[in-house]
């Protein structure tokens, strides 16, 4: 306080900040990146521990015996699935009823805005089947969900078999305090979306579904099971949900604890954890695991069927059985025992999972980075924007004091200044709106005039609008306000820098990974752009650091991290499909990444583009 209130010290501080602005910014940037990379270093991270007392101290025994029979049921399910050519609803209803569950079905239908070429679907109609195991002496206030998607082809039959086997075994136990809902959903996430909307009586995406006839109270936790082979080598835990939401860390802890107890290999992001943290390769491994999590979280899409539960504040995760070429094999009985143990512990919960962290990154399954540790990395990047803003503010205020008649100049310049700031703002945002709204609207027109499929039409229209945005706005302010002035671009940059700071700050609070990745690319360009830097080189750098190119690099980087490098040709195709998936995720499940990029980040980037070509 005293520091800022005292005009002399204040002036000294400000002059230091303006003088050393560039070096401080550079230092901050590298410090931020270094901090982030340090997060994966094991001594800097915390070991996971069970925070929830209700799940920690209570011992449960796992006695599930019927793995083989569950697999047989799975084969029977597969046969019926093949016969019906889809979800064998009648067979499932009958089987669940035979196991003593209250069985209900829900039918749903959805027409996608444009065909999904990855999953080859356009008009989706399906049925969810779910059976409720009513807990004895419980008032139907709480429930747990175990779900298995009924995927087309041969996938996931074993999961349905195991689900039915567990249902039969659970039905005969008397210790349940929460209803357990066994759900087989068709068309993976679309079916799950329909079921969740039906369960919670909401309709956020304009999907049509029949109302649910049976409910089981508020859902406390949910697990989604994906198994595609009779024996597996390891179980993979998927946490990332819609918009980068994560379940409570205790759910991951629970899974890890039971894997340790029963002796199942468990992975996260498909990576086993290693003990040689002090070696370079060990650190590399941890960084890869964490970066994979960051990339997945930043994408904002649900990476398993559990992803949509998180929107309703239901802790959920997907457990995937992986069958790779390792010696160590796990059979279905063991997986059943693991799930039984997890459900028995979840059953003991008195409150919903809340004790542990909701915001974290995991460099390995046994270690985590909490929000308090990773936020400084983002903070160091964000402070650059504030420093630049301060610098600009000071620059805007100082010149008038140099000449006496400058006072009059300011009065003259400030009034067109508002217009010269407002015009690029409005135009770039209109371009953003066009980028958001037009691709889906214009798909029919595009298909009529060009030899492309509807999906390609949407993606290519998006890219076209994106590129056209570069040419469009940066000259228009001159038509309205005449020649741009030094003051003009400074005011515009000040607004843009503050805008970016607020935007990235809010994004990082909701989805750290997305915020951090955007900050990593947008902050340097925001810091250096002025009309006086070399045009061609700067323009090139600006394009390289634009959101679309960031996405392109992310695609290659992600493939690299997964040890599946792709050629440029394949990468480009992958990039196109990622864009279409992003648009689909937005319209199907309400993912916010596409509107965020189109409506806010891209216009913000356009402002900097505008500044570069200021005349």
């Amino acid at each position: 306080m005293g520091l800022l209130s005292d005009p002399n010290r204040r002036r000294a501080l400000i002059s230091m900040l303006t003088r050393l602005n560039a070096p401080i910014c550079v230092v901050c940037y590298f410090a931020g990146v270094a901090w982030f990379m340090g997060l994966a270093f094991e001594p800097f991270t915390l070991r996971t521990y069970m925070s929830e007392n209700a799940m920690g101290s209570t011992m449960v025994e796992e006695r599930f015996p019927a793995g083989e029979r569950a697999l047989a049921t799975g084969r029977e399910f597969a046969a019926h699935k093949k016969k019906v050519g889809g979800m064998p609803v009648d067979w499932l209803v009958k089987n669940m009823q035979d196991r003593g569950l209250e069985v209900f079905t829900q039918s749903f239908s959805r027409t996608l805005p444009f065909p999904d070429e990855n999953k080859e679907r356009y008009i989706v109609k399906g049925t969810n089947v779910y059976g409720i195991l009513r807990a004895p002496r419980a008032p139907r206030t709480e429930a747990l969900v175990l779900s298995a998607p009924c995927s087309p082809g041969d996938g996931n039959n074993q999961a349905v078999g195991l689900l039915l086997g567990l249902a039969q075994y659970f039905r005969n136990q008397i210790y349940w305090a929460k209803d357990i809902i066994f759900l087989v959903n068709e068309h993976d996430l679309i079916g799950m979306q329909a079921w969740l909307e039906g369960y919670h009586h909401t309709n956020t995406t304009g999907m049509s579904w029949s109302p649910l006839q049976g409910r089981g109270g508020s859902i406390q936790a949910a697990l989604s099971l994906e198994l595609s082979s009779d024996v597996i080598t390891s179980l993979d835990l998927v946490l990332e949900g819609l918009n980068g939401q994560l379940p409570n860390l205790d759910l991951a802890n629970l899974f890890y604890a039971f894997c340790q107890k029963i002796g199942v290999l468990c992975t996260i992001q498909g990576k086993l954890q290693r003990n040689d943290w002090d070696s370079v390769s060990g650190y590399n491994h941890a960084v890869q695991t964490m970066m994979l999590m960051v990339m997945k979280q930043a994408s904002g899409r649900p990476w398993g069927d559990h992803g949509l539960f998180l929107r309703y504040h239901i802790e959920a995760a997907t457990i995937k059985g992986v069958n790779s070429f390792r010696q160590y094999k796990t059979d279905a009985t063991t997986i059943g025992r693991l799930l039984e143990g997890m459900y028995r512990k979840l059953n003991n919960l008195l409150e919903r999972l809340h004790q542990s962290y909701f915001f974290y990154l995991m460099p390995s399954l046994s270690h985590f980075v909490s929000i308090g540790y990773y936020m400084p990395a983002f903070g160091l990047l964000a402070v650059i924007l504030l420093l630049r803003a301060l610098d600009l503010w000071v620059q805007l205020n100082t010149p008038p004091s140099t000449t006496e008649d400058g006072v009059a100049d300011i009065d003259q310049q400030s009034s067109p200044g508002v217009l010269s700031v407002l015009t690029p703002l409005v135009i770039s945002h209109l371009t953003g709106v066009a980028l958001y709204a037009l691709p889906i609207r214009f798909q029919e027109t595009a298909v009529e005039h060009f030899p492309v499929s509807e999906t390609e039409a949407v993606v290519l229209t998006a890219i076209a609008i994106y590129t056209a945005g570069l040419a469009l706005p940066h000259n228009t302010h001159r038509l309205l306000s005449g020649e741009g002035t030094e003051q003009g671009w400074r005011v515009l940059k000040l607004v843009a820098v503050l805008y970016l700071a607020v935007l990235l700050g809010c994004t990082a609070l909701i989805n750290f990974s997305l915020g951090f990745i955007l900050a990593l690319t947008l902050v340097p360009l925001a810091a250096f752009v002025t009309p006086h830097v070399p045009k061609v080189l700067s323009a090139f750098i600006l394009v390289i650091l634009s959101p679309a190119c960031t996405l392109l690099f992310s695609v290659f980087f992600f493939q690299e991290l997964q040890d599946m490098p792709v050629s440029f040709q394949d990468g480009w195709l992958l990039y196109l499909s990622v864009i279409s998936q992003g648009i689909l995720d937005h319209s199907l499940y309400g993912s916010l990444v596409y509107p965020l990029i189109a409506l806010l980040v891209y216009p913000c980037w356009l402002l900097f583009w505008n500044i570069l070509f200021w005349k």
Binding site: R140, S218, H354
Partner: protein, 576 residues
């Protein structure tokens, strides 16, 4: 068109009153046929005045009878005809009797079913006395048909539309779409097929229908299904002929001759309501004529001929585009009732109120206290009865416009808003649930933060909302005892039973667990410290910088300050 014809009638009556029966034998096309009916009717009305005392007497007798003669049971007919034998008559003239009634039943689908029945009984024998020439109530055209073709029984129906049994339940008298005709001939008929052919042609003329298209290609002789409905134990089905014409379209030209068979025509009584422009604007229309011989009394020594004319129609309320469910005679028929047919011994209007015993679904106005019960189609049903022969039925306005007004579904809503931390919300609703339906009551709420002391030790468990309660009186299949003092098992006597026909039910829904926004209680101290620091440092300094302007002031202390400094120096404290 029909109205126009109606107004012409009075002229026609005068003009043709003298040219009596010469025309009657000739069966011609529609317009002439109309005249013929008019003449016929005129003859009857002329006779009416002579028999007035007898009619009066019979009417009084008939009001005693409380039978809903909707079912064709011989016993019923005996019961009604029994009083008639008491009527003293020295002259052995054939006795005849006319009854009319209208049954209105609100259907579950929301439609209205109206069923007219007109019955004429005549103690005569067309066969024995070869020349029956004196007709009073019985239409002469049909009488001549009976005697000429030696008909034992005749059933003819014209129907437009299909009876939707799933939605409407069973009709009182079923009939197929199109025209249906089936006739039992007397044993005396030698060439049945020829008689049948001639009969269809004659009927075709009488009813203005294409019955002449009935020939051997569409005539059958059912051996089991169509037994005679009247008396007589005929089993030889060679005297039976049955034919249907599914294509037959029923319209005004069929209704007019049908109406003319009535003693009062459409001038008085219930037949006033039969306006074709309204009747043919319905979902279902069926008119029929049934002739048979029935027992005169319970001993069944003598028989009499019965002519039943029925007309059923179903009015579609949703089609008429009105939002409020309300029905009146005028809305349906564009006429109101002003009198009974003077020739009728009984004229009644029945409203089926079985589904509405306490008037909770709809109310009738004017109300009537007269109730009647009848067993129809294996179901005991209750009817409100309006006796049109009594003056009081029409009230002071001299016309009966029966109004059925449905009550709106949300009968009663009681809502007490909550007061924060004092009392909860209370919402009570009285709802009429339609059958086979799902009713959803949703309550929107906002999640609010509680005060920090109000959270329970386990706030993340959620907050309970108690069960909703549904209390209802459910119709019982078994009659119950309303006497509460009577000895009963304890388990059956908890809820007091007010009515025989329904029992009390209370249903509780599941309790609800609602998650409220919950602060992280694990570190309230940290949170408080952090918040306070952020507010104090961040906001405070920013506010200071924005609102205050700093200026360097020459050190020129004021008088008070100088004095204060002097005092401070004396105290040994550093100066200001």
């Amino acid at each position: 068109m029909a109205a126009h014809r109606c107004s012409c009638w009075s002229w026609l009556l005068i003009l043709f009153s003298l040219s009596v029966f010469v025309v009657a034998d000739i069966h011609e096309t529609t317009p002439v046929n109309d005249h013929h009916g008019g003449v016929d009717h005129n003859a009857q009305t002329a006779e009416q005045t002579a028999d007035q005392p007898a009619v009066e007497e019979r009417r009084w007798e008939a009001t005693e009878v409380k039978e809903a003669a909707t079912v064709d049971a011989a016993a019923d007919i005996q019961g009604t005809s029994a009083p008639e034998t008491v009527v003293p008559s020295s002259v052995p003239q054939p006795k005849d009797d006319f009854q009319e009634e209208l049954v209105i039943r609100p259907l579950h689908s929301g439609d209205i079913y109206a069923s007219f029945q007109f019955r004429t009984l005549w103690d005569t024998d067309f066969m024995r006395e070869n020349k029956v020439s004196h007709y009073r109530l019985f239409p002469k055209s049909l009488g001549q048909v009976i005697s000429k073709f030696s008909v034992r029984e005749l059933h003819i129906s014209f129907t437009q539309g299909y009876w939707r049994t799933m939605q409407w339940g069973q009709p009182f008298i079923p009939s197929p779409p199109g025209a249906e005709l089936w006739v039992w001939f007397q044993d005396s008929v030698t060439d049945v097929d020829a008689t049948w052919k001639e009969l269809t042609n004659v009927l075709s003329g009488i009813f203005c229908a294409s019955l002449n298209f009935i020939d051997s290609t569409n005539t059958v002789q059912p051996s089991a299904s169509f037994k005679p409905l009247g008396i007589g134990n005929v089993t030889d089905h060679s005297f039976l002929r049955y034919a249907t014409l599914p294509r037959e379209i029923v319209c005004t030209e069929n209704l007019t001759p049908w109406k003319k068979l009535l003693p009062c025509g459409s001038k008085a009584g219930l037949a006033v309501l039969l306006k074709s422009e309204k009747l043919f604007h319905s979902s279902f229309h069926s008119q029929a004529v049934h002739i048979r011989s029935v027992c005169q009394d319970w001993q069944c020594k003598t028989t009499s001929w019965e002519l039943r004319q029925t007309l059923n129609s179903v009015f579609d309320l949703h089609n008429s585009g009105q939002t409020k469910r309300e029905w009146s005679l005028f809305k349906m028929f564009s006429r109101t009732l002003t009198e009974a047919c003077p020739l009728a011994s009984s004229s009644k209007l029945y409203i089926d109120i079985t589904d509405n015993p306490q008037g909770e679904q709809f109310e009738l106005s004017p109300a009537t206290s007269l109730l009647s019960q009848a067993v129809v189609l294996g179901d005991r049903r209750t009817f409100s009865v309006y006796d049109l022969t009594q003056e009081t039925t029409f009230g002071s306005v001299r016309s009966l416009n029966l109004l059925i007004r449905w009550k709106s579904n949300e009968g009663y809503i009681h809502y007490e808003p909550s007061k924060d931390r004092v009392k909860p919300h209370l919402l009570e609703m009285l709802i009429q649930l339609p059958p086979n339906s799902v009713t959803e009551v949703t309550v929107q709420f906002e999640r609010a933060l509680l005060k920090w002391t109000e959270y329970p030790p386990d706030p993340n468990h959620g907050f309970y909302v108690g069960s909703s309660v549904i209390s209802s009186l459910v119709p019982s299949t078994v009659a119950m005892h309303t006497n509460s003092t009577r000895e009963r098992p304890l388990f059956s006597s908890f809820f007091p039973c007010k009515e025989e026909s329904s029992y009390f039910v209370r249903i509780y829904t599941e309790p609800l667990l609602v998650n409220l926004p919950t602060p992280d209680f694990s570190m309230p101290y940290n949170v408080i410290c952090l918040t306070c620091t952020v507010v104090a440092v961040g906001y405070g300094s920013l506010y200071n910088l924005l609102t205050r302007s700093f200026q360097i002031e020459e050190p020129n202390p004021g008088l008070a300050k100088r004095i204060a400094n002097v005092i401070r120096r004396m105290r040994g404290v550093p100066p200001l």
